[in-house]
């Protein structure tokens, strides 16, 4: 049909052949098309089907094939035109052919909404979650906190070999020390604490009012004030509901950040990294607050907070210059030491434990305590 001119009159046109699927059966129908005031689809021996040009839409097709659907026909009815001349004749008549496709503006809209959604998620992570954690943590029922604490305790004991140190004299000394700080802190008697027999030098608080000191820390301590300062810090965490706040905050942020990144990188590295940064800064604030609390308690007891920081420094050494500071969950030990040194004051109260009691405490895990 290379040199056939195309008169407008329908009668003169060559047969305009296409393939039609009526969307009801899969029968491949050979049809002739008539481009009248509507598109007429005629199969020999069947009634003509009419599609209004305004209802015709383009459907996905391979290259070299024009595939059409019609909004007023069965949704899967398809007309397939291979002849390029016929195809372009139809296309020029259908003004709304590509109306349903995602346009450049549509893509811009997707980008805009996503950026807005991401920005609000980030705002929630940075401002909403800390606020929610602060407000919700004190509202968590005591019973639930207790349960979370119990669950954590089982795991902790599984990790550190089970059992607590319970040399009677050492226990008495430990109870005395804990009670003095607890009373100063204004916490009630439901607070429990114990020493766990492991050489790891650390201490931590669990939800529901549990404070654990690990034997490794006790071994490295030189006097009761060092231990007391650290216990006071942990009581600070209890007082501030830091466990519950952290739990709510970490759960919330990891969920939101996971939501934000979805599978953009196909790896969780970004999620992990951004979570660490966000959570670390949150936990650094909590640690600062617990340190402040410890300083106040030690002052209230007439003792200096400095020995506790010295003990920490003895354990960790200088921390600066190791790794990225925005990833650290604690303030640097040297900064904490500097801060506590500033708060140093000569003891105005009686020693927290007698020399005898201190010796007993060091030996709480059995044997004569390592000095």
């Amino acid at each position: 049909m290379s040199d056939v001119s195309q008169p407008i009159a329908a009668a003169e046109q060559p047969p305009r052949i296409a393939i039609f699927f009526d969307g009801v059966t899969s029968r491949r129908r050979e049809v002739t098309l008539a481009l009248l005031d509507q598109l007429e689809i005629v199969e020999t021996g069947e009634a003509a089907i009419r599609w209004a040009y305004a209802d015709i839409r383009r459907a996905d097709s391979p290259a070299g094939l024009l595939r059409l659907s019609c909004t007023s026909a069965p949704p899967l009815a398809r007309l397939e035109v291979r002849d390029t001349q016929l195809a372009s004749d139809i296309v020029t008549r259908c003004a709304r052919l590509d109306e349903h496709r995602t346009s450049r503006r549509g893509v811009a809209k997707i980008v805009g909404w996503s950026v807005a959604a991401a920005a609000s998620l980030v705002a929630v992570v940075l401002f909403g979650m800390p606020l929610a954690a602060d407000r919700l943590a004190p509202l968590v029922p005591e019973a639930l906190q207790q349960r979370i604490g119990d669950a954590a305790e089982v795991q902790v004991k599984a990790i550190f070999g089970g059992g607590v140190c319970n040399d009677p004299e050492g226990q008495a000394a430990f109870t005395k020390l804990v009670n003095r700080i607890r009373d100063a802190a204004g916490l009630d008697a439901s607070v429990k604490s114990a020493v766990l027999p492991t050489s790891v030098p650390n201490a931590f608080a669990l939800p529901g009012g549990k404070v654990y000191m690990l034997k490794g820390l006790l071994d490295r301590a030189d006097n009761p004030d060092e231990v007391a300062g650290i216990l006071a810090h942990e009581f600070g965490h209890l007082k501030h509901h830091d466990n519950m706040r952290g739990l709510i905050y970490n759960g919330g942020t990891s969920f939101l950040i996971g939501l934000l990144f979805g599978d953009v990188t196909g790896s969780s590295a970004v999620i992990f990294a951004s979570r660490s940064v966000v959570e670390a800064s949150y936990s650094r604030d909590a640690e600062q607050a617990a340190d402040t609390f410890a300083i106040e308690m030690m002052h209230a007891l007439g003792r200096s907070p400095k020995p506790a920081a010295e003990l920490m420094y003895r354990i960790t050494g200088k921390e600066g210059g190791k790794g990225i500071t925005i990833l650290a969950s604690h303030p640097l030990t040297e900064d904490r030491l500097a801060r506590m040194t500033k708060e140093d004051q000569p003891p105005s109260g009686p020693p927290l434990l007698t020399a005898q009691e201190w010796k007993a405490l060091k030996g709480i895990c059995g044997g004569s305590g390592k000095v």
């Binding site: 009526d22 009801v24 899969s26 491949r28 349960r147 119990d150 939501l259 790794g323």
Partner: protein, 385 residues
């Protein structure tokens, strides 16, 4: 112009009785088009923090489907990104309370026994299998050929239960039962699949699959020790799996046959590995150049910038993150071009369809399925055929 001129692809409709040659399956998609599609998509995915994934996945499927023709007639994918987005939001609305309940149950259980909550992961596995079934159902109901849809019935939870029991057996037999698991699960899926009023079936059996792949199972420890062999093993396994799977598919009187060679995927996997190595090297070079620049401009020593076990310089950290994103983007493009498009094309060019005349006059039937399953699959990070 005579009656046949409009159809340069595919033979004219056969009118004579058998024997008929098998119908061809062709993939006519242009590789450049696909590459541009995924490049643009990956870039948009990056600037939209991943939300564009629903649109990209839809565009990829539309491209692959509409360029796949069986017996001269191209298929069509009618799913839309908004459905996926909605499915994802619905799945979230269901998953969030479950995550919360899971959290509370964990606490209750842990109280009695340390680490006893691990079996609760099973419930997530169950959800994942449900998601795989429902996602297949969504994709199938959006697949149109000759103006008639495929569709699926059956229950996602019944499927999930089967998948879990078979999973347990596979675990207990150290993977030996895998072929039988695949066969049984595929049978369930295909027997609940339909094209119009034609019913699907799956005739592949576990024993055939086992005979094709047992030595791979036996030699898999070798691949773990001698790393360069691993891609060969995986490519072998995948090719054998595809061939077995396709050859087992029946829809009414229509049967599929795959002649996929066992070494069909070697090239693809090696290309992906080559690109990955190239990209990693590029990232390494980029980071070292950035480090050098930061050291030079900042005036500090190398020690100051990269001290201890990380970076101390915020600009360098930012530059590295940008480099990482660029690499992730490039890697996504490579994966999609080789492991989606090229793999698809390779599989299709060796597939033949017998008895296609049974699909000549099929009556449309079945309901459309929601994209909830796709949403779950997205939320739980599972994927399936």
């Amino acid at each position: 112009m005579n009656d046949f001129q409009w159809a340069p692809v595919g033979p004219p409709l056969p009118v004579s009785p058998p024997p008929l040659p098998p119908a061809r399956v062709d993939f006519t998609g242009d590789r450049g088009d696909f590459r541009r599609l995924v490049t643009k998509g990956a870039a948009l995915e990056l600037v939209t923090f991943g939300f564009y994934r629903f649109w990209l996945v839809t565009d990829i499927r539309r491209h692959l489907w509409s360029n796949t023709s069986v017996n001269g007639d191209a298929a069509e994918y009618t799913g839309r990104a908004k459905e996926l987005l909605l499915g994802f939001l619905f799945a979230l609305a269901i998953l969030v309370p479950i995550y919360l309940a899971y959290f509370l149950v964990t606490i209750e259980v842990e109280r009695f026994q340390g680490f006893a909550s691990t079996p609760l992961f099973i419930s997530f596995y169950a959800f994942g299998q449900f998601a795989i079934y429902r996602a297949r159902r969504y994709r199938l109901t959006r697949t149109v050929w000759r103006g008639v849809r495929f569709w699926m019935d059956g229950s996602g939870w019944a499927y999930s239960l089967r998948a879990m029991l078979w999973g347990l057996l596979v675990f207990l037999t150290l993977g030996l039962a895998l072929p039988w698991r695949e066969a049984s699960l595929e049978r369930y899926k295909m027997q609940h699949s339909h094209y119009g009023d034609l019913n699907g079936d799956f005739v592949g059996d576990g024993w055939t699959f086992f005979k094709r792949g047992w030595w791979l199972w036996l030699l898999s420890p070798v691949a773990i020790i001698i790393f360069p062999l691993a891609p060969f093993f995986y490519a072998e396994f995948k090719a054998r799996q595809w061939r077995w799977w396709l050859s087992g598919i029946r829809i009414g009187g229509v049967s599929l046959e795959s002649k996929l060679p066992h070494d069909a995927f070697y090239g693809l996997y090696w290309k992906v590995i080559g690109w990955t190595m190239l990209l990693s090297m590029a990232l390494g070079m980029y980071v070292s150049i950035c480090t050098a620049l930061v050291v030079k401009l900042g005036g500090g020593s190398l020690e100051d910038v990269v001290g201890g076990d990380g970076f101390n310089s915020i600009p360098l950290l930012a530059l590295t993150v940008i480099g990482y994103f660029a690499m992730a983007l490039a890697f996504n493009i490579v994966m999609r071009v080789y492991l989606q498009r090229d793999l698809w094309a390779k599989v299709l060019e060796t597939t033949h369809v017998h008895g296609i005349e049974a699909a000549a006059n099929v009556r449309a039937s079945g309901e459309l399925a929601s994209a909830l399953g796709e949403g779950f699959a997205d939320g739980l990070d599972v994927a399936g055929f």
